[in-house]
C-alpha cells in the first residue's frame, strides 16, 4: 500500500515535467529547429522556485488559493487513477466521480483567482475556461459510463483493470471512439492546440495562459507544475485505454506506462504541429460533437 503510493507519487512528480519537454521537442523538430532541451521544464521550475513574488494591489487571498488548489488537486487525483497496469493506491466504489469533481474544484479556484486581478483579459480567459470545461464534462461521463458498463464496477481500478485488453475484442468500436473523445478532452483540459495555444503571445486569443498572467515566482511555478501533473494524470486515462496490457511485474508495467505517456506527448506535439487553432466559436461545436460521438459509443454497448 505505502509502496504503491510512493511509486505512484514518484512516477507522477518526477516524470510529469518531462512530457512538456517532449511536446516542445516534437514541435521543434516539425519546425526544423533544435528546440529547448528536454529538461527545460525542470530548469524553469527551479528558476521560478528561487524567485520572489509580486502581487497586484487588487488581489486578495483568493489569488493565492488558485495555485495552491491547482497544484494539490492533480496530486490527489493521481492517487485515484491507475498508472497503466499499476493499480491506484486509493480506490473505492464511485471514486470516478470524485476524480472528475476534483478537477472541477481546481477549475473553480483557478478561474476565481483570475477574476481576482480585476483584469478584463483574465476575466475573458476565466469565462472561456469554464465554458469549455463544462461542455467537456458530459463527454468524460459518457466515457466513464461506457467503461463502467464493460467492467461491471464503479471504481477507476475496476474500470481500467486487467479485463480491458479482452474488452477490445467485442467492444473495440466503442472503445476506439471514446479513445478519440478522451484525447479531445485531454487536449481541452490541458489547453492544447487546436483548442488553446500555450505559446500564443496575444492576450486576446489566450484561454488558459491569460488566466495566469499575473502570477509570479513560486506561485507561477506551482501552476506550471500543476498543469504538467494534470496532463499526466488525465493522459493516463488515454494511455491505459490504448495500451491495456499487464506484464505482471511492477517495473515493466511502469516502463510501459511511461512509454505510453511519452508516445502521447509525441502525439500531442504532432497534433500541435500539423493543426491550426480552431476559431473560438468552433470550439463549443467541436465539444458538442465529441459528446455526440461518445453517446454513440455508449449506445453501442448499452443496447
Amino acid at each position: 500500500m505505502v509502496g504503491r503510493l510512493l511509486l505512484h507519487l514518484l512516477l507522477l512528480l518526477v516524470f510529469a515535467p518531462l512530457l512538456l519537454g517532449v511536446i516542445n521537442k516534437t514541435k521543434a523538430l516539425f519546425g526544423g529547429r533544435v528546440g529547448v532541451p528536454f529538461l527545460q521544464a525542470y530548469w524553469d521550475l527551479a528558476r521560478l522556485w528561487r524567485k520572489g513574488f509580486v502581487f497586484s494591489r487588487t488581489t486578495t487571498w483568493v489569488f493565492q488559493a488558485g495555485p495552491v488548489v491547482a497544484l494539490t488537486v492533480p496530486v490527489l487525483a493521481a492517487l485515484l487513477i491507475p498508472f497503466g497496469a499499476l493499480p491506484a493506491p486509493l480506490s473505492f466504489e464511485g471514486d470516478l466521480i470524485l476524480f472528475v469533481y476534483l478537477f472541477g474544484l481546481s477549475r473553480f479556484f483557478t478561474a476565481a483567482a483570475a477574476l481576482d486581478t480585476g483584469s478584463s483579459f483574465e476575466g475573458m480567459g476565466a469565462a472561456r475556461e469554464v465554458t469549455f470545461s463544462c461542455l467537456a464534462e458530459p463527454t468524460i461521463l459518457f466515457s466513464l459510463i461506457l467503461l463502467a458498463r464493460l467492467s461491471g464496477g464503479l471504481s477507476l481500478n475496476r474500470l481500467l483493470g486487467p479485463h480491458l485488453a479482452a474488452s477490445w475484442g467485442p467492444a473495440g468500436a466503442s472503445l476506439g471512439l471514446i479513445l478519440v473523445c478522451l484525447l479531445v478532452v485531454v487536449l481541452v483540459e490541458n489547453s492544447r492546440i487546436p483548442f488553446d495555444d500555450p505559446n500564443t503571445h496575444l492576450e486576446l486569443t489566450m484561454v488558459h495562459e491569460v488566466m495566469v498572467l499575473d502570477h509570479s515566482g513560486p506561485a507561477f511555478g506551482m501552476i506550471l507544475y500543476g498543469s504538467a501533473l494534470k496532463l499526466m494524470v488525465l493522459g493516463s486515462l488515454v494511455v491505459r485505454l490504448a495500451l491495456p496490457w499487464q506484464t505482471g511485474h511492477w517495473l515493466t508495467d511502469a516502463l510501459v506506462f511511461l512509454g505510453g505517456q511519452l508516445l502521447l506527448a509525441v502525439l500531442i506535439g504532432v497534433i500541435e504541429s500539423v493543426m491550426a487553432r480552431l476559431r473560438l466559436v468552433r470550439i463549443p461545436q467541436m465539444l458538442i460533437g465529441t459528446s455526440l460521438i461518445s453517446i454513440f459509443a455508449l449506445v453501442l454497448v448499452l443496447r
Binding site: F55, I97, L98, L115, C134
Partner: protein, 653 residues
Amino acid sequence: MLWVLAAAALIALSGVPGLFRPNRGGGERLACALVLLGAVCGVAGVAGRLLGRGVESVTHSWSIPGGEFALRLDPLSAVFLLPLLLVAACGSVFGLGYWPQREHPRNGRKFRLFFGLIAAAIIVLLTARNSLLFLMAWEVMALSSYFLITTEGEKGEARRAGFIYLIATHTGTLALFAMFAVLAQISGSFHFPAAQTVAGGGTVIFLLALFGFGLKAGLMPLHIWLPGAHAAAPSHASALLSGVMIKTGIYGLVRVTSFFADIPPWWGWTVLLLGALSGIFGVAFALAQHDIKRLLAYHSVENIGIIALGLGLALLGRSFNLPALTLLGIAGALLHVVNHGLFKSLLFLSAGSMIHATGSREIDHYGGLLKRQPWTGLMFLCGAVAISGLPPFNGFASEWLIYLGAFGAQQGDALTLRLAVLAAPALALIGGLALACFVKVFGIAFLGEARSAAAEQAHEAPLSMRLAMLPLLAGCVWIGLLPTTVAPLLQQAAIDWSPSCVAARLSAPLAPLVWVGGMGWGLLLIVAMTWWWLRRRTRGAPDTVATWGCGFVRPGVRMQYTASSFADFLVGLFRFGLRTERHGGEVAELFPKPGHFHSETPDSVLDRLLYPAFRRTALVFIWLRARVQNGQVAIYLLYVAVTLFVLLRLVVF
C-alpha cells in the same frame, strides 16, 4: 413528538407579542428568542425520537368530518424537519441585524408574525398524517409565504410577485384537493395509508400530485412564481422559502409515492426527465441573470431538478425491484434536500449581507467586496463551492449518491432501466454550468475592484448576521467531511419510504461514504499545508503594483469583465431556450458616440408563454363583454325577455 408540538406552538406564537408592543422595538428580540427556544425544543424532540425516546404519534379526534388531528414523526419527516428548524433559527437571528424594527417600523412586526407562522405550519405539515390537516397546514404555509413575499407591499415588484405566487399556489392546492379526494376514495379514509399498501388507481393521483407538489417545488415548466418571489422577499425570508418551503413539494411527492405498492416505470421516467429539464434550464437561466436573488432563485429550480433526478432513479428502482438503486436514489435525493436547505440558506443570507451593505441586488454594482466584507465573502465562497457540488463540502456527498444510483442503473436487465444512466451526464452538465455560474457570482461580486461607489463604501455585516451564517456553514462542512454520520438517518428514511430498501441494507451501498469523507479530509490537509507554505514564502512580498493591463496605461474599474460578459458565451449556447433580449450596444460610425447596452433574460414560461396567453384570453372576454353589454336598452330588454321565457319553460314544462 410532544416536544415538536411545543416547538411548533412556540414558533407560531413568536411574532404575536410584538403586535402589542408597537413602540418598544416591536418585540423583535422576544420573537427571536421564542424561535430559538422553539428550534431547540424541536431539535431535541426530533433527536430524542430518532434515538427511540418519546411518543411517535399523537392522535386526537377532530370535529371536521373525515378530519383527525393525527401527527406522526418518522425519520422521513425528520430529514425535512431538521433543516427547517436550523434555517428558521438562523433566519430569525439574521433578521435582528438585517431587518431591525427601527429601520422597518411599518412591516417588521407583520414580517415576524408570518415568519413564525410559516415555520410552524411547515412543522405541522411535515408531521401530519391526515389529508385535511395536511391541507390546512399547507394553506397556512401558502398564505404566510404570500405575506412574506409582499413584506414590502408598497413596491410594485413585490405586489406582482406576490400575486403570481398566490395564483400559482392556489392552482396547486386545487390539484391537491382533488388528489387527496381520489386517494380517500381508494384507501377508504382521509388518514394517510401506510407505505406500499395502496394497490392500483395511482395514475390520476400521481399526475395530480406531480402538478400540485411540482408547482410548489418549482419543477421546470411549473417554476413560474419562484424567481420573482424569492427576489422580492427579504433575504432571510428567501432563505426560508428557498431552503425549506419549496421542499414541502418534494416531501409531498415523496410521501404520496410511498403509499403505492407498485410503481409503473413511466412515473420514474417522468420525474427523471422533469428533473433533467429543471436542472439544465434552471442553471442556464441562472447564468443569464444579473440580479443576485433571481439568480439564486433559479438555482433553487436547478437543485430541485437534481433532487428529482434522485427521486426518479429511486422510483425506477422500485419499479424494477432493485433495492440498491432505490436506496441510493432516495438517499441522494433526501440528502440533497438537507444540503440544499443548508447551502442555499447560507447563500441567501450572505447575499442579504451584500444587499445590506450596498443597497443593490445587481451583481454588476458590487465588486471587490471580499476586502470590505471578509466574513461574508468567506461564507459565500463556501456556499458557492458547496452548491457547485465540489468536494469537500456537502453538495458533493449527495450528488455522489445520485451518480452512484445512475451508474448502478446500467447494470439492470431492461433497456428502459439502463437508459436511466443518462442521468449521470445530465448531472455532470448541471454541475459544470453551476460551477460557471458561481465562479461568475463570486468573482464579479467579491473580487476585482469595486464597481460602484456603494460597493467602495460597503461595510461588514453586524455580528448577529455573521453569527447566523455560522451554523449553516458548519452544517455544510459537517455533512461534507463526516457524511457517514447522516447515513443511518438516510437509511431509516429510505426504509420509511419503501420497506423493500431493507434488503439493500446488508450490502451497504452507503459504505463508501467513509471514503468520500476521508478524501475530503485529505484534500483539506494537503491544501492547508501547501497554503501554509505559500503564505510563509509570500510574507513581505510587494503588493502595491497594478494589475498587468497589457500595456494600457489608464485601466478603469468599468473595464472589468461584468456578470453578463462572463456568462455571454454560455448564454449564447442556450439561446434557443433563453432568448436573451439585447438592447443597444451597436457601434455605428467611425467615431462612435457614447452608447448604452442592456440585456435581460425574461422567464420563458411566464413572460413568453403564460402572460401572452392570459392576455389574449382576457382580450377575448373583453370583446365578448363589449358585445353582450353594449349599452342599448332594447338589447337589455331582450335579455330580460329571453331569461323570463327560459325560466317559464323550465318551470312549466
